[in-house]
């Protein structure tokens, strides 16, 4: 079966003055339809770079990235924009809602760029907002909502376009623990409904909510397996680093 996401020996090298920084140093991994994967790592491990490449926000220096069987690593800006629009739904730590648009307009944005009619956008945006339980707030501005509510709006926005992959970058980072748990529970529910969810986090206690963990360190995959395996969470190097 074709993998939904396939990294083939991906390198991402940044030039910092005279030295090269290998943010991703030969990463290969696959994600299948319906998985719930957490990509975990300390800051500087390369997880953000991995998320940018998965999200088609960045291109690898070398290697191939197949999304839905298509090599997207060589696409131009317009094609990448189209892939982001059709196949990816982003959930960000800072929600990233546009302050001057109301809730419904925010949710409609990806549909707007997809070229849908006003009627269809409205229907789908309202449906997505109903799924996160905020249909009654659709005329409010983001600033009139709590942090948890704003994150639910951004989840609705990610869902509205009916993407193949939901990409959540530290989705609970700005929330208190109770709201954070709610958001995670919601991601689990989405996965249970058949959505592919990729969660990027530095926090092990959040990563274990996923079914599978991919641990990155210094641009390399050092663990890839089920989330309930003790090795997924405890890493000798990590403990050493923590001690230092």
């Amino acid at each position: 079966m074709e993998h939904l996401i396939e990294f083939r020996d991906i390198y991402k090298i940044y030039h910092m003055g005279d030295s090269d920084v290998h943010a991703l140093d030969g990463v290969s991994l696959t994600v299948d339809q319906g998985e719930f994967v957490a990509i975990v790592g300390q800051s500087g491990s390369g997880k953000s770079t991995a998320m940018n490449i998965i999200g088609c926000l960045d291109v690898p220096t070398s290697g191939s990235y197949y999304l839905g069987g298509v090599d997207v690593s060589t696409m131009d800006d317009d094609q990448q924009a189209e892939i982001r629009n059709k196949m990816l739904g982003f959930i960000f730590q800072q929600y990233n809602l546009i302050a001057k648009l109301n809730v419904q307009e925010n949710v409609e944005l990806p549909l707007l760029y997809a070229g849908l009619s006003g009627e269809e956008r409205r229907t789908r945006a309202v449906a997505a907002l109903e799924r996160v339980g905020l249909a009654d707030k659709r005329k409010n501005l983001p600033s009139q909502l709590s942090g948890g509510q704003q994150q639910r709006v951004s989840i609705a926005r990610a869902l509205a376009g009916d993407p193949s992959v939901i990409l959540a970058d530290e989705p609970t980072g700005a929330l208190d623990s109770r709201t954070g748990r709610e958001v995670l529970a919601f991601l689990q529910q989405l996965n249970a409904e058949g959505n592919t969810v990729i969660l990027i986090t530095h926090d092990n206690s959040i990563a274990v909510k996923a079914k599978r963990i991919v641990r990155l360190q210094d641009g390399r995959v050092i663990y890839d397996g089920p989330a309930d395996d003790p090795r997924a969470v405890v890493q000798p190097e990590e403990q050493e680093e923590a001690a230092v």
Partner: protein, 405 residues
């Protein structure tokens, strides 16, 4: 994402910071208003001058002799009369307009700036009720054929002399020109502003006397063509006659009223074009203002641009959004400028009619073409100057834009 959506988005974005939007538009508002005012004034002036010309009679042909008229070759008025008699189908009359340097006195008063013109009876048209210069007779009569033939010492005075020399009661009184007494038989109506040296400070005497007293012959002849249509042919006849006399086409200039009107219009057009270009400079400054604010706006909204890109906005969507925003800004500025311009033109019309008296029919009329061009140019300037910032926004890297604080 289509045009209406971008337009609505632009309006929303403008309305969130009204003060700033207004200040951004200010350059365009002033520029467009200036263009409208200038084109209105120019158009009004053209209409006004053309009406004045029409009232003078568009069948007039003016022949001016250049240089010394007292050499062996000179124009004899009898030749001019003969020319008119030979071609009655083209020419209906001729009069010299002989500006004679004569000293004008009334009692102890000397009027040094008064113009003395020696003219014939053709100078005043009884049917039209005006002279060839458009002046009307207020009292008495104009000079007659007999006055010229018999060299009678009679004159017609302008409104200035009537008031200043005769206290409003000139008819039948006498003034002296270089010592020769002339009886006032007519008074002209107010034509200019009744001041010294103006078109009202004038004395008309028979051309025969003007020639005799000044010892020179006239250097200007006014012909009346039989109609507007025959005026060009009449001009040709006059030119041929003058060439026969002088054998040199540089010694005379013959113009029809239509040509003078055209020359005037050409000059006015040129003047208006220059003034409009100067006004358009402020449009350019306005455009730079828009570019400036759009660049600031792109920087401020870097994160928004990143969000839009992450949601699937293509570079062209972003570019389009900012170009339309700039275009909308300048278009609204343009509409406001047109409004202010029309208002100012009407105000000017009112002020001028107050200053010049209600009889004066000068009106600063905004032209449709002026309005359309001003609007078009303002939109074009917005789009042109919005393009650079819009392109900057379109080219932003989505990751950098998303991380921008």
């Amino acid at each position: 994402m289509n045009f209406t959506q971008s337009f609505r988005l632009a309006l929303k974005s403008l309305s969130t910071s009204k003060m700033r939007s207004l200040l951004t538009m200010l350059g365009i508002i002033i520029g467009v208003a200036a263009v409208i005012i200038i084109t209105s004034l120019g158009h009004g002036m053209q209409v006004y001058m053309n009406e004045e010309f029409e009232s003078l009679g568009s069948n007039q042909v003016d022949a001016m002799i250049v240089g010394d008229n007292d050499s062996s070759r000179h124009v004899d008025i009898e030749d001019m009369f003969a020319l008119v008699d030979r071609y009655p189908q083209y020419l209906s009359g001729v009069t010299p307009e002989h500006r004679a340097s004569l000293i004008v006195r009334h009692g102890a008063d000397e009027f040094t700036r008064t113009t003395v013109k020696g003219v014939g009876e053709t100078y005043y048209s009884v049917e039209r009720g005006t002279t060839m210069n458009g002046e009307k007779l207020a009292k008495g009569r104009f000079l007659s054929y007999v006055d010229a033939q018999r060299q009678q010492s009679v004159c017609v005075v302008g409104a200035y002399l009537e008031r200043e020399a005769f206290g409003g009661n000139a008819l039948g009184k006498t003034l002296t020109l270089s010592g020769v007494p002339f009886t006032v038989v007519g008074v002209m109506d107010e034509y200019a502003d009744v001041t010294e040296g103006s078109g009202d400070d004038v004395v008309y005497i028979p051309y025969t006397l003007a020639a005799r007293l000044s010892g020179t012959s006239s250097s200007e002849y006014l012909f009346a063509a039989t109609s507007r249509e025959t005026a060009p042919a009449a001009k040709g006849l006059v030119e041929r006659e003058l060439f026969k006399i002088f054998q040199d086409s540089d010694r005379y200039v013959v113009l029809t009223a239509a040509e003078m009107m055209d020359a005037m219009n050409t000059m006015l057009d040129l003047l208006m074009t220059i003034l409009t270009l100067i006004a358009a400079l402020s449009l350019l400054v306005g455009g730079i203002g828009i570019m400036n604010i759009m660049l600031v706006s792109v920087t401020e909204r870097t994160r928004e641009i990143g969000i839009r890109k992450s949601l699937g906005a293509k570079p062209k969507n972003i570019r389009w959004q900012f170009v339309i925003e700039a275009g909308t800004t300048s278009a609204i500025g343009g509409v406001l400028g047109i409004g202010f311009g029309i208002l100012a033109a009407n105000l000017l019309t009112w002020v001028l009619s107050m200053a010049l008296g209600s009889e004066n029919s000068f009106r600063a009329v905004p032209t449709l073409s002026g309005i359309l061009v001003a609007f078009g140019v303002s939109v074009a300037i917005g789009v042109l100057f919005g393009y650079l910032p819009a392109n900057k926004a379109a080219k932003l890297n989505p990751i950098d834009a998303l991380r921008y604080e």
